[in-house]
Symmetry: C2
Subunit: 715 residues, 2 copies
């Protein structure tokens, strides 16, 4: 890798005395191809990237190549005021912004204000969310990351300077119909309530390339074990080992797939707070129970939150490393201290990992604010409560990932709090918010935040809603039914039980495609689920439509921005356009090029907005021209390490194409040491102009696919 | 007044080293009877009380008398951490908390978390509100005020210490049905993001007495001019002088009362931002226009926001005193600088006050966040944007009040941003939120925040809703129809037009009662509108009812607290229990003693919860045993200064009683120099046991009431 000068000043120091303050230019140091860093003031010792212990994927960054520093950011400035650090990054006309964490209502973020604060999402995109990642991506091809574990306030293009070079003309609301409640703003302003911070800039020819650089710099995206991409069912909270085994058997008997089961709080002797040890009544022999699951090729995931009960064997030892305040009267370990980490590692390894537990669901590291420690809490490491709050979930992810990593065993779990630096951590975010439409928006926004999100299904008011929820779940990073409180089964709504089964089976069949999609996340930094704004050939005017003045609903006649947030891409080819309960038709925005119906192969449209009436049975999925979709025959469980399957490769379109299929052992970290294969799948035209598929299977005996059959869907 | 030692340490210095920090006891200095102050660290130079320039009403405080320092607060501590100031005030079991600003969803505040931040209310009681007053009142008889213009985070009984003396026992959610999502917390914790603050404690035998001391310390409540208590109609924004005069004539012709009209942005030549000068097309002769209104005994109120247009005559001169950022491209004056204040005073005096304008509606000093200056803005006084935000509305109230005060003329206006220290300022808060039910809750919570609130009516979906809204408006501090955008008239819904007229007329008739109620606010500190929790004899168990677990709506089975927030008191006697659209019956909680129907005089209940089915025509109003309600005959406009009326005194109940009627000139500040009367109204039993009313009219020739007729409503 190219070496950069140790301190490379891209721009000379600029001092501005306007605005009653001293604004200073950033000193950017290039640290990787297309990545720059600047330290402003005295940065906090603890930051999200430090907690995540990111290991930049330099190979991937090098592959993306060098780029000049984004000139649009050259006039960015910072200053100190009232003990805070203020940042200002310029914006251009027509520039769109994405990111600023996992949002549920909007993909485009220009014109919004947020105070980034780890918390349960509560219905407003105001910065309080599970992953308030201080990272934004510009449509003009750059990204800005503020690596701070503070409650950062971001004005994403709202502040209007009195004497800026782009200050819009004054209007008269009395006489000018085009008066605008939000006049043009030419900058992102931030307030960081600290004496300094680190700032990173990521370049890119496209927003996707910016996201790739961010993800790669953070270590590349996580590559789940193959079983993680199957279907998972979380059982009712007080289920015993026998009840769970019965449930597993019922899935099998009824023909519904299952790859791992989730055990909710009742597996523990005490929970809320937690003992972290098995309840001897409900689980007298946890090792045997897990072995029985394993014989059926079913993995397990244990619910926990990190707050420790006095009934836990580590309670006394961990006490000196806990904070002043409690969560549900449980002690709050300060994982910045090595002894706290070791006590957890030893207990969890002995109780869970050593007998075969495959992962965790880490609950309540986000907040709901009301039950987390208040910001007046003190922790023995001396780190402030605000910062601990911002990094707690991230830290727990990192810690547990390390335990599995030491066993050379991948995990794939659930978490409710995260922050910057998370892409490589094997966790999917979930919550209790349960708005189906907003869950889909979160799938879109997750792709700008370096996190994964699951729109888990719990229960529904109608069978229609149940089917619609289960359909989207099956096109998400973790296909999950969370029956902890309701005991809902996939077949609970009998009139849609077969349709639910069909989409769950489709999920299982798509494994080769999904696994490769995650490999792209890992090796190339491309998120597996992608907002439309990350897709080349997608352009959608964000021009605001003027709105009607209404004294009670819209007194400022606020314009409504176009924002495509109800459809998303899974990997390179699949465009998913879910339907929601009560809907029988919807609009789908198709990027440029031909798009085909996934189920029929028929041309659906090209670079246009189509209206579809898809019926209840299927979730609308469209495939891009040239889409090569490798699938396997349906199996009830994700294939085990040595099991082989034939490939069923679907092809959509009329042109020649190729795509690389990824494979490895599916469970260990050996891929990090080069043990993986990329296999080129080719579609060519023969002399008669007929499309034919070809591939050469790698000679690796660990390769999981045998022969391939090609199905040309478009005729 | 008694002199207090200059520094009276109530408690010796206490140093605690628990919690990894140094917690220090407060040093309380008594500053008035039942009022103490403590300065913690280095307090900010700018505070709400300093901006409001409060003048404590020592006479009223002395009348309430001396009290010992509330011993419950003796273990309060403060400390410094991470550049912030942390405060901790202990709580007792069963103690209830009220206040923390103008809230719209809840009266009781124990168990809530807020970051107090001046902003438009947006649907959650999270501290972002028009008047986030850092003051809370305990049911055990004390109040705490943090006099800081910072974004204070308040944990009002949520934090649970690991090793506190009241830490509740740990529970096991797996096995204990009474597991509680919010374990018992024994303190209010606060984070003030500054190096210090001032803290005030107010004692009281009851919550009401605490509120009285707070209001009296802040100068006593405002006493509006009598015309302010009539009915006000805000005309459509682009109305001309003639259209307004026509509208006024229509009110008169149809028999609907009117005391002052509101002129919306269109009175100005430029608005959003503002020129502050009359539009010569719509208002060619504003002085003549105002005189014409005055001949009809109609006052005027001008809409403004403080942001100045380049078309304003003061623009150039005020520029050096404006901030770096704009609001709707208008400059933002820094009213901490005397020249900015003087420029506004001179322009407003000449353009408005000198020709008879009676008051202002001060819009958009709260936020909506999106269009206010961002917190990165700088102001020429050097005061930070956060602090300017917190005090901007308060400062504008104080400034304009001063202009009218110099003319010895009372004003009564509308404002959208306020803070601590506001009780004596002649402004009523309003907003765009427009939820009728929550508007009533705000009436309740305003009584703990030292602010006034109007549930203004704009328009409605149905005539039922229109009538219900107009009914509550007429029992609020400002009875207002705001037709700026919709042009709604009181009679717009023809099927309820007569009922609307009836309640508007009742409002006018109640003037003697309402005016006395405001005099109580001024002289005794009793808020005119009172939450039930301020009423003696009211007790309502706040025990939480256990809630049902529901995985999607209530995953933590959060208990629901009883909170009486849909009924309120107007003054000493009237209990108002509004109905909302779609309701035909409701529950009313009657405090101890007998309560009578206002309209019939019949006994409605005593110390009990009653269910009523009141019909559409009337808003349910109940009168306390002994209720003496002085009224006047209906008039279209509030009586002018010299006009006299007969009193019609209604009496409710069967016992002897007396009440003091207040009067003064109704328009000037001469009452502050002793020119007022309190007249005792007596109800006694004669020898036959028959109730009779008596009074001796004061000899003051300025007294506005002639003879009195007594109506004994209860037979």
């Amino acid at each position: 890798m190219k070496r950069y000068p140790s301190l490379f000043f891209l721009f000379s120091l600029l001092i501005s005395t306007s605005g009653f303050g001293q604004q200073t230019a950033f000193q950017w140091q290039q640290i990787a191809p297309g990545v720059w860093k600047s330290v402003v003031g005295s940065s906090d010792g603890i930051t999200p990237l430090a907690v995540a212990e990111i290991k930049p994927r330099l190979d991937g960054l090098q592959k993306l190549g060098e780029m000049p520093f984004p000139s649009l950011l050259s006039e960015s400035v910072h200053e100190k005021a009232d003990g805070k650090t203020l940042l200002r990054f310029p914006l251009q006309k027509g520039e769109q912004l994405f990111g600023l964490g996992l949002n549920f209502k909007s993909v485009q973020q220009r014109g919004t204000i947020k105070t980034l604060h780890v918390d349960h999402y509560n219905g407003k995109d105001n910065g309080r969310t599970h992953a308030p990642v201080p990272f934004y991506v510009s449509s003009l091809g750059y990204g800005v990351l503020v690596n701070s574990a503070r409650y950062i306030t971001v004005y994403a293009g709202t502040g209007v300077l009195a004497e800026g070079s782009n200050t819009p003309p004054e209007m008269n609301r009395n006489s000018q119909r085009n008066w605008n409640a939000q006049p043009y703003s030419d900058a992102v302003d931030m307030v960081i309530p600290a004496a300094g911070t680190e700032v990173y800039v990521f370049a890119g020819r496209t927003p996707m390339e910016v996201v790739q650089r961010y993800n790669l710099y953070c270590g590349g995206g996580t590559l789940p074990p193959k079983w993680g991409l199957g279907f998972t069912h979380r059982t009712p909270t007080l289920f015993t080992d026998k009840q769970i085994l019965n449930e597993v058997a019922e899935f099998e008997a009824k023909g519904y797939p299952l790859s791992f089961v989730g055990l909710e709080p009742g597996w523990q002797s005490h929970s809320y707070p937690n003992s972290f040890v098995w309840d001897s009544t409900r689980f007298p022999h946890p090792d045997q129970f897990l072995k029985q699951l394993a014989t059926k090729n079913i993995r397990s995931n244990l619910w926990i939150n990190p707050y420790v009960s006095s009934h836990s064997p580590i309670f006394k030892d961990v006490l000196p490393y806990t904070g002043t305040h409690t969560v549900w009267v449980g002690r709050v370990p300060d994982f910045n201290l090595a002894p706290a980490r070791k006590l957890y590692k030893d207990l969890f390894s002995k109780q869970h990992l050593s007998i075969g537990v495959s992962g965790y669901k880490v609950d309540e590291v986000d907040g709901y604010d009301n039950w987390l420690w208040p910001d007046v809490a003190k922790f023995p490491s001396g780190i402030g409560a605000e910062q601990i709050r911002q990094i707690y979930g991230l830290q727990f992810q990192k810690m547990t990932d390390g335990w599995f990593r030491e066993m050379n065993q991948r995990t794939y779990g659930l978490v409710r709090g995260s922050n910057a630096g998370s892409p490589s951590l094997p966790y999917v975010i979930y919550n209790d918010y349960y708005d189906h439409r907003d869950f889909i928006t979160a799938l879109c926004t997750s792709s700008f935040a370096g996190v994964l999100w699951t729109p888990e299904a719990r229960t529904s008011k109608t069978s229609e809603e149940w089917l619609r929820r289960m359909q989207t779940v099956c096109f998400s990073p973790m296909a999950m039914l969370n029956a902890w409180a309701d005991g809902t089964k996939p077949w609970s709504f009998s009139d849609v039980a077969e349709d639910v089964k069909a989409v769950m089976r489709l999920r299982m069949q798509l494994l080769p495609y999904l696994y490769t999609t995650f490999a792209q996340y890992h090796f190339e930094g491309k998120p597996p689920i992608r907002a439309m704004n990350l897709v080349e050939g997608f352009s959608f005017d964000d021009k605001a439509t003027t709105a009607q003045l209404n004294s009670t609903d819209n007194p400022y006649a606020m314009a409504v921005k176009q924002d495509i947030k109800d459809q998303f891409m899974v990997g390179d080819y699949l465009l998913v356009a879910p339907l929601f309960a009560g809907e029988t038709s919807r609009k789908v925005v198709l990027p440029s090029g031909n798009w085909y119906d996934f189920y029929t192969g028929k041309l659906a449209g090209k670079g246009e907005v189509i209206e579809i009436k898809p019926g209840l049975a299927n979730i609308p999925v469209f495939v891009k021209e040239g889409g090569i979709i490798p699938m396997i025959p349906f199996q009830l469980h994700t294939p085990t390490g040595t099991e082989k399957s034939p490939l069923q490769i679907r092809y959509y379109g009329t042109t020649e194409a190729s795509w690389n299929l990824y494979d490895d052992d599916g469970t260990t970290f050996d891929y990090e040491r080069g043990k993986y294969t990329w296999t080129r799948l080719d579609v060519k035209k023969d002399k008669k102009g007929q499309l034919t598929g070809s591939w050469i299977a790698p000679k690796d005996p660990a390769f999981h696919y045998t022969n391939a059959t090609w199905e040309f869907m478009t005729r």
